[in-house]
């Protein structure tokens, strides 16, 4: 065990830090994960990812032949930490970078990798995830969107829902039913669909935050080339789960939690209760520590998993807990901040008197969305129990 970084890694960190200090956009893009997304905003968001990519700080671990740098995961984690530290805006190409990219690297054909991966890095193609449907959420494998093979094409009909970012996505990785007769897990295929294909309609849905974050997507006789199939026909469920694995690690990532805790602590120090800062209130003080302990445990837990990854150890139950614990913790942090603010928590983000630039009301809601999205906490517990602890299936 040795938690020191090498001098090369430290030098790399300094370089990243200096780059971010110089280049993080100070206006027009926010470090909160808000989604007020017009055309102009989108252009700025893509430009930011492009700049970061040109500097060599996006998806560092990807293979060189697809635009990556084949760097070790330690460098990637250094960049992630520095991005959080610099309060850099999140990357618009997140779904491609965090979910589809790693999936294609394991499951895609050579042609698919060459075709799609480089444009994920440059933000030329933004991806969205077409999994959930009106009748299929937690029970994802019951999905009904149909794809029939006609010649060398799939003809897709059906509907997806809660599709984040579909309003500005160029491409969708999508689960479709290709064999309605087979048992539900064995008739699903994983295909890649260009969003501008005729027959696709995107209808935005307004989230509780007031933003247009996710959408309904309708498919009416949409033609998709057969070469857009990932892995084998009717074997999409395994690929879907590979993507979910990456998604859950992304959503449960500890890197933002520490920063958020420090923001909460700083807030609590400025709030007076009974003539003293809230951090001196014996009850709230204990609560803050409970949160910090969980945050620190998750930070160290991520380092342990990074080490396992470097050592080539297969991820086990320790990584199954990330999504559940990480998203619940982020929501708990924001909830504590709302309670700390007392009746000032009534103020919406837009109000000029909102504390801490209105960060918390938005974060409080947004973080609850992530407790649901990517498989709810209940579903995570089912997975941990059944796959991790090998408890008997309910069905």
């Amino acid at each position: 065990m040795d938690l020191n970084f090498t001098s090369e890694e430290e030098a790399f960190r300094q370089k990243v830090r200096a780059f971010l200090e110089e280049n993080v956009p100070r206006s027009g893009l926010s470090d909160t994960r808000e989604g007020r997304e017009d055309k102009e905003w989108l252009g700025r968001a893509k430009a930011w990812q492009r700049k970061l990519n040109e500097a060599g700080y996006v998806a560092l671990a990807w293979p060189k032949e697809y635009g990556g740098q084949a760097m070790d995961p330690v460098r990637q984690s250094i960049v992630n930490d520095e991005m959080v530290r610099a309060r850099a805006p999140y990357l618009i190409g997140g779904s491609g970078l965090g979910m589809l990219g790693p999936t294609l690297i394991s499951w895609g054909t050579e042609e698919q990798k060459k075709r799609y991966l480089p444009k994920i890095l440059t933000a030329e193609e933004i991806w969205c995830q077409g999994y959930s449907e009106p009748g299929s959420g937690s029970d994802l494998a019951s999905l009904k969107t149909r794809a029939e093979i006609v010649g060398d094409e799939f003809i897709v009909n059906g509907q997806k829902v809660w599709t984040s970012g579909a309003q500005h996505a160029d491409m969708m990785f999508c689960l479709v039913r290709t064999d309605p007769e087979a048992p539900k897990h064995r008739g699903i295929s994983y295909i890649l669909i260009a969003m501008h294909t005729p027959g696709i309609t995107v209808r935005p849905l307004v989230q509780m935050t007031g933003d247009r974050g996710f959408n309904e997507v309708f498919f009416d006789n949409v033609h998709v080339p057969r070469k857009n199939l990932v892995a084998k026909l009717n074997e999409g469920w395994i690929v879907a789960n590979a993507t979910l694995f990456h998604e859950r690690n992304m959503l449960g990532s500890a890197s933002g939690s520490e920063q958020r805790f420090h923001r909460l602590l700083a807030l609590a120090k400025t709030i007076e209760r009974g003539g003293q800062p809230l951090t001196k209130d014996p009850v709230f003080r204990q609560r803050l520590v409970e949160l910090e302990i969980k945050v620190q445990a998750m930070r160290l837990h991520a380092l342990r998993q990074l080490t396992d990854q470097i050592r080539g150890k297969h991820p086990g139950i320790e990584s199954m807990v990330n999504k559940l614990v990480g998203t619940e913790l982020n929501h708990d942090l924001a909830t504590a901040a709302m309670e700390a603010m007392g009746d000032d928590s009534m103020l919406a983000r837009e109000d000029e008197k909102a504390l801490d630039r209105g960060y918390w009301p938005y974060e409080w809601m947004f973080s609850l969305g992530l407790v649901i999205g990517g498989g709810t906490s209940h579903i995570q517990k089912n997975i941990i129990a059944e796959r991790g602890l090998k408890m008997p299936k309910s069905r």
Binding site: M1, L3, L303, R304, D308, K390
Partner: protein
């Protein structure tokens, strides 16, 4: 950056698991619970393997390893509900003696521990049941190089069989708490065994009436002793929780109700998933705390306090839920579940409550 166990550390842990599975099954634990809480045959075996002197410096015949390695053994001891003074003697009392740089006056005790010839323990709590320095009242007066100690220490593990006791006492003239080593057979020392809940451990009151003690030289030793004790208990809690969870999960696969294994019911699945979701990140926390302690990092105390608070909370609550998951059988004396349930309660209160350690985290973090 490498945050994982080394091959040697993993081997140490695996060999401890194998040994205790074989030599310390619950049938043995129960025999010891019914007698004096000290499994002598088992201790002779682990002495041969060098467990006693694991953290004793090499110059005194030990292996010279650190608290991270010790945590591996303690975790396995917790897993097996290993009875006896090992944790108190070879981790805590030994750790206290090691705080002194010179070989005087600790060398002879360290040597005896490494050879398996002596057992030590620590006496902290006065009548209030708290390790907060403000609640410690036992008085030490200087008598040349030695101390004379007056007070009544409560709930001292294995005082009856210990050869020496590290006693925490204060001089009225300064706020500093001293650590003094009292030989158990010295005049003025009276041991009164208590009846305790967790029968895998034994405790006693220690009455000190002008008992003579050797003062351990150095400053701020008490805070370091708290670190060592908290770390040891956190490691034991990790292993204990792992075992209690494993028992509940295994039972849920075989016990049937409503025509199905009870483990197929979500209430049980979610309870088990919640425990493991807390426990695995807490394991990472413990590793870092032990690593930071061994490396002498400035944040060691803070992380140890985090690990102690977190793991003892998880163990106390988790073992409670593990009893529930067993239903009526879990409430019997005959079933083994209560062994861990009671150890969890001991751990939660020994060496500072979770709330006490959270307050340390806040204070050290400048909240």
């Amino acid at each position: 950056m490498d945050f994982g166990l080394s091959e040697e550390q993993q081997q140490l842990k695996d060999s401890a698991r194998a040994l205790l599975t074989h030599e310390c099954p619950t049938t043995e634990v129960r025999k010891v619970m019914a007698s004096d809480g000290y499994p002598r045959a088992l201790y002779e075996q682990v002495a041969k393997l060098g467990w006693n002197g694991l953290i004793v410096p090499e110059q005194f015949g030990g292996a010279g390893l650190g608290m991270l390695e010790m945590a591996m053994l303690l975790e396995e001891g917790g897993y097996a509900a290993m009875p006896g003074p090992f944790l108190f003697s070879s981790a805590i009392a030994t750790g206290a003696l090691k705080l002194v740089r010179s070989s005087e006056p600790t060398g002879k005790w360290l040597k005896a521990i490494a050879e398996g010839k002596a057992i030590g323990t620590v006496a902290i709590n006065d009548r209030t049941g708290s390790i907060d320095p403000r609640d410690l009242t036992t008085i030490a007066t200087k008598n040349g190089e030695a101390l004379r100690i007056n007070g009544v220490k409560s709930n001292v593990p294995y005082a009856e069989i210990a050869d020496f006791i590290v006693v925490v006492a204060r001089d009225l003239s300064s706020p500093e708490l001293w650590l003094g080593v009292v030989e158990k057979n010295a005049p003025g020392v009276t041991i009164k065994p208590r009846k305790n809940l967790d029968l895998t451990r034994r405790i006693a009151s220690v009455e000190l009436e002008g008992a003579s003690a050797v003062r351990l030289p150095g400053e701020g030793l008490y805070a370091k002793l708290v670190d060592i004790g908290a770390l040891a208990i956190a490691a034991d809690s990790l292993g204990g929780m792992e075992r209690a969870l494993e028992m509940a999960v295994e039972y849920s696969k075989v016990r049937e109700q409503f025509g199905k294994p009870i483990g197929s019911f979500q209430a049980l699945k979610h309870a088990a998933a919640e425990i493991v979701s807390e426990l695995e990140p807490a394991r990472s926390l413990l590793w870092y705390a032990a690593y930071a302690f061994d490396a002498g990092l400035p944040d060691a105390s803070r992380y140890i306090a985090m690990a102690k608070a977190r793991l003892c909370d998880i163990y106390a609550r988790g073992s409670d839920r593990a009893v529930l998951m067993h239903g009526g059988i879990g409430f019997t004396w005959e079933h083994d579940m209560h062994i861990w349930f009671k150890r969890a309660r001991f751990n939660e209160s020994y060496f500072g409550s979770p709330a006490f350690h959270r307050e340390r985290v806040a204070a050290l973090g400048g909240y």
